[in-house]
Symmetry: C2
Subunit: 414 residues, 2 copies
Amino acid sequence: MIYIAVLGYGVVGSGVVEVVRKNASSIAQRAGEEIAVKKILDIRDFPDSPDRELLTKNADEVFRDESIKVVAETIGGIGIAYQFTKTALSLGKHVITSNKELVATHGPELLKMAAENNVHYLFEASVGGGIPIIRPLHNCLAANEITHITGILNGTTNYILTQMRRAGKDFNTALKEAQANGYAEADPTADIEGHDACRKIAILSSIAYNEYVDYKKIPTEGISKITLEDMRYAEKMESVIKLVGRSMKVGDKIHATVSPAIIQKSHPLANVDDVFNAIVVRGDAIGDVMFYGRGAGKLPTASAVVADIIEVVKHKNNSGRNVWNINTEENMVDPESVKTRYFVRVKVRNTEEAEKLIKKVFGSVDWINSINEGKKEELAFVTSIDTEVNQKEKVEQLKGTGSIKEVISFINVL
Amino acid sequence: MIYIAVLGYGVVGSGVVEVVRKNASSIAQRAGEEIAVKKILDIRDFPDSPDRELLTKNADEVFRDESIKVVAETIGGIGIAYQFTKTALSLGKHVITSNKELVATHGPELLKMAAENNVHYLFEASVGGGIPIIRPLHNCLAANEITHITGILNGTTNYILTQMRRAGKDFNTALKEAQANGYAEADPTADIEGHDACRKIAILSSIAYNEYVDYKKIPTEGISKITLEDMRYAEKMESVIKLVGRSMKVGDKIHATVSPAIIQKSHPLANVDDVFNAIVVRGDAIGDVMFYGRGAGKLPTASAVVADIIEVVKHKNNSGRNVWNINTEENMVDPESVKTRYFVRVKVRNTEEAEKLIKKVFGSVDWINSINEGKKEELAFVTSIDTEVNQKEKVEQLKGTGSIKEVISFINVL
């Protein structure tokens, strides 16, 4: 029998307790030993919970109990969760977490601490909810040099974008609906501004490229500027707009970004709708593989936590020794130097002159037919490929000219 | 340094040698030890191979060499591969294979032998080429009770069906093209008649449901009867036709089949085209997750073999102890008792009478508009749900009647 403790009895934590109880016998078969929750730590009261006998507010009851070998940290954030994780690891307890913020921020330190104490620090649930992605990246694709990761990593924004595209709702309406359905939090900033996706692509990249990728160095743009008009242009381009987290190897450096992107409908990510997430990984031997599923939710995320617990039980005397080396040199490519194409939409005063100006500034472009048939006040085009810094400079040259009133949209094309 | 031997220097075997050599340093980092190929066993001559120094025709050079701890069996078939695998396991060597036929046929015996000798017998490459599916099913989804597996498991047939649908080529033309492109073998029977997919769904099911599923008990139907007309009807139904391997838990028994199926375009499998494979797994906690990628090919398959080798090296003193229990009672549901819907297409002599007869026999059906506008010699419909045995009996009642000339198609609707 292996005893575990759950820190934080919120959505994921209570899901962990539920899955461990419900699937106890098949879990025991797969782990080779029975697994039971001995303590649940939370400062709140849950008088009506079926787990009230296990609940405690006293952290010592978890940490001083030597029979508890595995701790599932489902508190979130980088405050008390960080302290508890360090305490548990230093006491030789394995730690499993769903806390992407903590892994993205203190991953190198915590993994090092785990290795020094010969225990595991595992975080399958921190990216993609229940979708198996961390372990496949680590183990199943281990024979590959991974060169690209491209993912829809945030269910909230994907739900909003899907509602906009399918039901023609504008951003604010779709956001409110997402909040009403429990898919977006009261303060939705972390989701809609891309911060959540940013931490996730940082974690995936750190594993794929064998060195720590600091999320603070990843240029991140959210979806709040995306309009229904942009979506209709994307439709004309046989494409959809998604919030995409990307990273790739460029020589021995790494390039990573989070931004809205226009994706061809034939791309496997284009069909990933609603709250689903998907991650495409490219390796030199395997080509593209995609992992798809529910990126959030109580039971999917809990099942990823429990899978990590089973893994620890199976290999409890054989810790992974995974560390994220921190590169002493700058390991990120200057994002401004990376070449890309953009979709640009401008409001014009004089169509002919504006077209001339755009050709002069951008050279050859692909014009997209206006979504407002007949009306000529708008021009839309896709630039040829160039560095981001050059693209931005060119856009600046369009602003405040006689023929162009306003640059309305400037969106990455994948 | 860990020494391995490769048995069989064909497409996959030579790929294994290539991947081990090419990505040696990152493989060493992930495995925690360097890995080198010491011997390659093949009865053929390869005088110009870069690996000729390693090649031998003498099996003793592999089996008597105690420094060789891991053997990659990429011979295929259930003849000499079976003998060599038993020899290697009995000598305490770990065995990795891409041989689905051998795993599906002798899996229970070989896994038991591996457990008795405290070594691993791993076969990630046997299903889905390079797509990580066996280990995720085993480990990452371990917290779930898996209830359904649905997959496009054969790249050859998926390529043929994609060519039929997209380019309007008929089955025979598409098959010849697949052979010319190296996607189908000279004798394509195992692929087009579904035998290959059958072995794969048997392996996946054995893992998911924790007991051996005998592929010989899985009703299997290939794609050779599918016509362009069927595809056009599917298109009218906002669907596509795919060769699908399926299994599910029905109470404590298992139902599995391989057959062509009509799938709604909104289903994630509908967009899996060309030689790609994808597997959707449903678990009670996680919901649906999908794994997608190249289901075959030299380097993708080799990378799966090498990932298993890395896994063995990481856990070489801790064999998986996975066994497939053989249920002493019949563990398969009578397939005839499983309920499903069918697409039926008939040639008629008298439309009105035929419609009446169909309603009388099948009750309520969904009529599909004819693809031959105006012409009335054909009727197409989707039945309501009923057991397979009943559906077949009903179809029999249509045959040889005055109003119906011929039953042209009878295809599962997913």
